[in-house]
Amino acid sequence: MSEPILSTHRLTNWFGKVCTAEDLDLAFRPGELTSIIGPNGAGKSTLINLLTGHLPVQSGRIVFRGVEVTRLPIHARVRLGICRSFQVVNVFPQLSALDNVLIPALAAAGRTRRFLAPVSRERAARAEAEAVLASVGLSERRDTRAAALSHGDRHLLEVGVALAARPALLFLDEPTAGMNPVERARLLESVRGLAREGRTTFVVVEHDMDVVFSLSARVVVLNRGEVLCDGTPDVVRNDRKVREVYLGDEVIDLMPVAEGARP
């Protein structure tokens, strides 16, 4: 089995008296599309916040590609290859779609310190930004301000912003929230395509079980900061504790066959 791209060791977090991560030992393998599910308050978003540096780690360790990143600031983790999208769309609202993805592309290329040459001369970064926009289907909206895009397009743009940072590991926090079926299909198609390319390992937090079971090779179920179940979609679907705590029998019966679960 390949070395994990990221692993946590006894990761713990408390918000006052509420435990949102308790001695979590998790490992994500390169190229594997993992979904994290669980009831509200299970600690899914907190886990992403801890892994990406948005929240300071209270105790425990995070190791990314053999390097301890537990205390690294956000931008340093991004430079190493850990990136994310947010549950609530989080882009640069008054900048064009192209400029939104150009900023991470410039940062990834180490070109953001250039302060006297025009940005229009950054041809390589611009070409990369254009390619990222094309990969999320937003080429035609390149000059539109992010604030003027539809909700679904802004979600796609946010995934684009994250991809332009050249992540090795990308966390998507409820990427399809608030999307209509057409937008959701576009996003899932983009994620599947990118996952197939194999350059990026995706970890998706999602409430939509159709999305989870059609997309993932592995599903981690969290409950009150602990791992309730961790395995293939079939294993999770048939787990008694998961049925009791989260899924329920009726939901299980309606779930699609796990396409993404095939090895």
Partner: protein, 319 residues
């Protein structure tokens, strides 16, 4: 047409500025120098406020650091104006590096309050360190040396001679501000203004870049402070007062935060309004307050921003 205007406007403004001393009006030349000095101060400040979204109430301290830096250097070391200005810029930038290091850790209102506190501290130090700064009398008797450059010694004694020296540095400062705004660094600053968290998740070290632009804008303030001492022959403690720190903010609001031309047009309007209104009343800030209220209420984008919108509307095809 708008594109042609954008290309031609800087050249027309430069040509008009070159012609000012030819009118032979000394007071007009003096006022134009004051406009350019304020323009340098405001265009640097707007890199911080308009481009990065950080509101500092302490930039008067950096203006004063430049003024006193040049003044002390001229009185005790050399009266060479370029060396003095280099000291002015360096003094302001160094002070900003220290102040900024402590301030950029906070954001929004806390950042603004910290800069205000440091500005007031600088004022108190200048006011009380009488032996070095001259206290409330200021630093007086600073003479303009000749501009020795490439074997030439150009005198700056006359107002018109100083005018072209200031114009050259003004043009350089505006060019640098323009290049910064349109550079990758400038785009990142705009990103930080729009969403600092997203900028960090795009791989940008937000604090470090905030500190960088803080120091750059302070260097502009130091240059402006040094130029004022060359013009007036003295440095005054009120240069570091918070009311002086407010000037580039007012000027930027007047002209418009969103463009390079905004603070420059604002500087012209600010100095012109002050000269006109002061002929009728001592309380010119009262009149200026009303004008600013009207601008914020009716033309939130400032004079330049509103004109640009009107031009764009005229140029747009009818529906």
């Amino acid at each position: 047409m708008t594109r042609a205007l954008r290309l031609a406007a800087p050249l027309l403004v430069l040509a008009a500025l070159c012609a000012v001393p030819l009118a032979g009006e000394r007071f007009l030349t003096y006022l134009a120098i004051r406009v350019m000095i304020l323009g340098v101060f405001a265009s640097g400040y707007n890199l911080l406020l308009g481009q990065t979204g950080l509101l500092s109430f302490g930039h008067g301290a950096f203006y004063a650091a430049g003024a006193y830096g040049l003044g002390l250097f001229s009185l005790h070391v050399s009266a060479h104006p370029l060396l003095g200005l280099a000291v002015a810029v360096a003094a302001a930038a160094l002070l900003a590096l220290f102040v900024g290091f402590l301030c950029v850790r906070s954001s929004e209102v806390y950042f603004s309050m910290l800069t205000l506190a440091f500005g007031m501290l600088a004022f108190a130090v200048i006011w009380n360190a009488r032996e070095v700064t001259g206290g409330d009398d200021g630093l007086v008797g600073v003479v303009r040396g000749k501009l020795s450059l490439l074997g030439l010694a150009l005198p700056l004694g006359k107002e018109s001679q100083l005018y072209y020296f200031v114009l050259a540095l003004f043009a350089l400062a505006v060019w640098v501000a323009h290049r910064i705004r349109s550079s990758p660094f400038g785009l990142v600053l705009a990103g930080m203004r729009e969403n600092a968290v997203r900028a960090a998740f795009a791989g940008v070290p937000v604090r470090r870049y905030r500190l960088a632009v803080f120091v750059v804008s302070a260097a502009f303030a130091g240059l402006a402070g040094g130029l004022e001492v060359l013009l007036e022959g003295s440095a005054r403690p009120f240069m570091s007062h918070w009311t002086h720190s407010a000037e580039p903010i007012l000027v930027s609001l007047l002209g418009g935060l969103g463009s390079l031309a905004g603070p420059l047009a604002g500087s012209l309007l600010f100095v012109a309004l002050r000269e006109i209104v002061q002929r009728f009343t001592e309380h010119w800030m009262l009149a200026f307050g009303v004008i600013l209220l009207l601008i914020i209420g009716l033309a939130r984008e400032g004079v330049v921003g509103t004109l640009e919108q009107l031009l764009a509307r005229r140029g747009a095809p009818e529906a």
